[in-house]
Point group: C2
Chain length 168, copies 2
């Protein structure tokens, strides 16, 4: 939640600041995905990352709708968690020479990003619902379901193809 | 994966360095949990965090068994991801005055930690299995299941009790 968390006095504040946290996180994901796309070797993995880039753009748009519903201007707040997760993803992308081992590492790095989103959107959707902000909750749940699906797809791709090639 | 990832040449290296990453992460969780226990108000939340402290100690022991099976001395490697996630948890724990809103934020912070472990243990278990390290995979899957259960319990507690009190 970062530097604004001292301003949190109510659950409504918690929701608003949480939205700012994921809004910042999504921007960082948008910046990082082209590197993952560029570094991936398996065709399905490149395709999965490209698909996730399109989804992330939609997720940003949904967050902007949520801010709008709360009469708030979309803005981000510093989020050390996603910064750390993405820093690890970039480290891995830069450092592994074997392209099949790199693919396995890229999937794991991407799943760490996806799980951060799953946990944050899960909390935010529950808070929005509790506050009677049903339209906001519905937007957040759409993104949550997309992220859960992305996680399953990446796991399946790892187990079906990428890990076997990396272990050879 | 941090500073050692340039040494990753094979999937076996990926597994070993991934184990060092979660070994470091578990140590940080052990250091952070007493703060969460101290700050929580709802009795069930304190109990859940205390239970997770005990589980974390067992998870560290399982990792030490996994290192042993791989003929490696247990050691950690810098993990900016867990550092960022825990920094956010500490920020929130220090800054929210309303104890019920704080409880809701603490659950979300703890679930971010749990989801980081779910994603890492999931990847590590799949890699160990692919490499034929079945005993290591079994240890990692035990921890994975514990973390998935912890996540479900925290979600249930949030929805059943903590969020409603925070929203009042």
């Amino acid at each position: 939640m970062g530097i604004f968390s001292k301003d949190i006095k109510s659950m409504d504040d918690l929701l608003r600041h949480g939205l700012q946290d994921v809004y910042y996180a999504e921007q960082q994901v948008l910046k990082a995905l082209p590197t993952l796309i560029d570094k991936a070797t398996a065709r399905e993995l490149t395709a999965a990352f490209k698909g996730h880039l399109g989804e992330t753009e939609q997720q940003v748009a949904r967050l902007e709708q949520a801010f709008d519903l709360l009469n708030e201007k979309p803005k981000g707040t510093a989020c050390p968690a996603i910064d750390g997760i993405i820093r690890e993803a970039r480290d891995v992308a830069g450092d592994i020479a074997d392209k099949y081992v790199l693919d396995a590492a890229l999937i794991a790095a991407a799943q760490a990003v996806v799980h951060y989103q799953i946990t944050r959107y899960g909390s935010l959707a529950a808070w929005a619902e509790e506050l009677g902000q049903d339209a906001v909750a519905t937007l957040l749940e759409s993104t949550l379901k997309e992220e859960e699906k992305a996680d399953r797809q990446l796991s399946a791709l790892a187990k079906r193809k990428v890990n076997a090639r990396a272990a050879r």
